[in-house]
Symmetry: C2
Subunit: 481 residues, 2 copies
């Protein structure tokens, strides 16, 4: 009708007829028409890839034909993610169980980063880690050692591991061992330290290190022994359950922590330890609702790792942040990081803190979103908005948006309020770039300075260019022309 009007009649005649308008672009145009009594529908349409010429060319090139069938490759990738069977099989010392771990090696969250480029909380956690290992006697010595080149740094992700926030793992830290029983691969993660002053938020005072030593010397052996009596823990079943109990698997973990305590308690009480030590272990878990996070993280890690390295797949198998950069990896481009600047978190702050105190987005915990829970399952956890901000409707909207960038829906992780629909799973970088819909990540916020700790929690947008660069690289490798 618009074309007819433009060609055949004076344009102004158009406004004398009764209009039925389909509006693209600015939504307010449609709203104004509706307010004037016209019949107008707004279509949420955007230029593909935000109009970015290189990204559009890459999408076109992949669409035109690839050396390997992308759809088939992605179907295999999501099949593996959905078939994962993450299972807690034990607790060990990092040096004993984590591949490639060494006394002079410090693992950290996110893509690779040098000491010189590390953000405040990661530097704080490295300083703490060096002192915890007895490699330095005070923070100044530790910082000097970190800067000397005598300590090696490597991402947790390069060692089948993940770490929350700063994600620092050192040789003598105890770690959860989670095995993907469907594929045989394993993932590792430190034990959650609780709230308050903790290493993962960059705190390294005496009390922080004392707690880490207690975790190594008492908590971990007690939990390892209780786990042995209990037998392996089916994390797929537990995560499925907690999504029916108001957790989303990343920042709300009250149900998960409760279930792990009730599962282990009958066995823990049987151990030959002084009962005050057993009580302290139980009280520590009870006082820390994030205790379960360090189990969902390696569960998510070993689930998506099984889908890495599939020729021709555009599925994202890693997302991670080091506080300086956010990085992703694609299944079809194994070993390559695509990065952009870490984002600023939009969220709720603890009393006395505000955005001016915030470090940038940090941590491997976004592995939960990569596997289809966390921010992707926010609709299951409406109460989380009290922690990260927004309304319950926002939480549902976030999950609904994520379906648009995923290739599949979980068969096990289901959202009651969406009629038990499976969570959006298998992020396809083509869809992210084409729609401009970025993965929704909810996260804690660390203080930007070393040694302080947590200041809030909220939602963060990853940098779009990381996804575009990955897509362009994928097209370069796989597109026929």
């Amino acid at each position: 009708m618009i074309r007819d009007a433009m060609n055949a009649k004076p344009v102004l005649d158009l406004f004398k007829t009764k209009l039925s308008v389909i509006n693209l672009g600015l939504e307010s145009f449609a709203a104004n028409l509706v307010r004037e009594g016209a019949n107008a529908v707004h279509v949420d349409w955007r230029t593909p890839a935000g109009g970015n010429a290189k990204a559009i060319a890459a999408l076109d090139a992949i669409e035109a034909g690839t050396a390997v069938d992308v759809e088939k490759a992605n179907a295999e990738a999501v099949r593996r993610i959905l078939a994962a069977e993450p299972t807690v099989v034990g607790i060990g010392l990092a040096l004993d169980v984590v591949p490639g771990m060494a006394r002079d090696l410090i693992l950290h969250a996110g893509p690779p980063v040098t000491w010189g480029k590390m953000c405040g909380p990661m530097r704080g956690a490295v300083i703490g880690g060096i002192m915890y290992e007895g490699l330095a006697g005070n923070p100044e010595e530790a910082a000097a050692l970190a800067a000397s080149g005598k300590i090696r740094f490597d991402p947790c992700h390069h060692h089948d591991s993940v770490g929350p926030m700063a994600g620092v793992m050192t040789a003598s830290m105890p770690v959860w061992i989670v095995e993907n029983k469907a594929f045989g691969n394993k993932a590792y993660c430190t034990l959650n330290e609780g709230l308050g002053k903790v290493l993962r938020y960059g705190a390294y005072s005496g009390e922080v290190l004392d707690k880490l030593r207690w975790m190594r010397d008492e908590l971990a052996p007690i939990l390892a022994a209780a786990l042995k009596l209990h037998g392996p823990i089916d994390m797929k079943s537990l995560i499925a359950q907690v999504l029916q109990m108001g957790d989303e698997g990343h920042n709300r973990n009250r149900a998960g922590t409760s279930i792990i305590i009730r599962e282990l308690a009958p066995h823990l009480v049987m151990l030959d330890y002084p009962k005050d030590k057993l009580s302290k272990a139980l009280a520590f878990m009870n006082a820390n609702d994030h205790f379960f996070l360090n189990l969902t993280m390696p569960s998510a890690k070993c689930s998506v790792d099984a889908a890495a390295g599939i020729e021709g797949s555009t599925i994202i198998t890693t997302m991670a942040r080091n506080g300086t950069e956010f990085g992703i990896k694609l299944s079809g481009l194994p070993g390559r990081w695509f990065t952009g600047p870490a984002g600023v978190v939009d969220g709720l702050y603890l009393p006395g803190f505000g955005p001016e105190h915030a470090a940038r987005d940090i941590g491997d915990s976004v592995i939960t979103e990569t596997s289809g829970i966390g921010g992707f399952a926010m609709a299951a956890a409406p109460a989380i908005v009290k922690f990260v901000g927004g309304s319950p409707k926002d939480a549902i909207d976030v999950t609904m948006r994520m379906y648009e960038i995923c290739d599949a829906e979980s068969l096990s992780y289901r959202i009651p309020v969406l009629d038990f629909r499976g969570t959006p799973t298998g992020i396809d970088v083509r869809k992210v770039v084409e729609t401009g819909i970025l993965p929704a990540i909810n996260t804690g916020i660390a203080h930007k300075d070393p040694g302080v700790g947590m200041v809030g929690a909220g939602l963060v947008k990853p940098p779009e260019n990381a996804f575009r660069d990955a897509l362009v690289a994928f097209a370069e490798k796989y597109a026929r022309k």
Copy 2:
């Protein structure tokens, strides 16, 4: 327009004009018109009180004027319910702590009922209770004793108590003691027996009685000692939390049971008991997701009891069923039961069972709905539909309907998915009768024969006449004319 058409023009002319129809009554009339392209709106209107003349007269009489200000009385009743502070303060033997308890007395669920009129599962539970107390050596002797008149029967509700399903409480059973700290009144409830063959569903075999003895001799003393170390448990806070975790406080109790375990475990492990006995207590709770129900029930009971006996109040302070009859009490008519036949539960059955095996609606657990949780909070627990039937949307609809018959909304018990709206609280019998909207109750289903047990769970409608009779009696006492 309709009147104009009827008076001034031949009726058939009506159908030549473009109709805008407001439809009352059968919804299908409006649906047909819409299907034919007409503009029709359906209004969900019903005759007040279903057209029942006595009920309408009672509503009119109360509306015309009462000796006591009903609105003021109800405001005080809901103020007390909302201000309740249910707190677990201990565990004791019924004979020692329950008012009026005696060795020859058996308490049961629901309004008063004689042995001759008891349903199968309640008879089974009475037989089991008599044998548990050592008053008879076998089921035949126990039944004869029950029929002999030498055993007295009384509702739990007449002794500040509540009991799930058959609700049988005998002298030497351990009970939770819950105190309403805001008003000083207390309520009592037995400990939950778990699933499978249990007394509350009318089973009375040796294993049922053995478990009851273990609960009395080991479980209760262990929990009582752990509770003493822990200190009183603030049930208002816990119930508020579990509504954020997918429980509704009646038939879904996984979150509540998890929280009570994690709260008690650090103290339980400190007790001077052989560790296998402590482990057995923890394992028993872990294996029984309804463990928390027997804490929410007395919490609800002591919350609404504080609102009983307010002159001129039409708020319902008791609903209860004995498997034969369903009964209610009004705040303004203390001591009087209004009853109707217990309903047939519409629900999901365990494999091998169907409606033909079901006993009628039974148990005091509907005290949860009376206090504003349970069925009234179903929107908080979408996953419950896997247990009681229906869809998550049905669960939300149930809660929304209950707002129409309540005078208030909870200040503490909030439903995340409804933007943290407080649960509908304070059922006003006037609203129930006027709208014909009956309180929504979700419940377990017992086998109709003694000795079998649970066969399913579902939703049940209470009998409308109990509410009408209560309203008529209220009008007789309070209406001026």
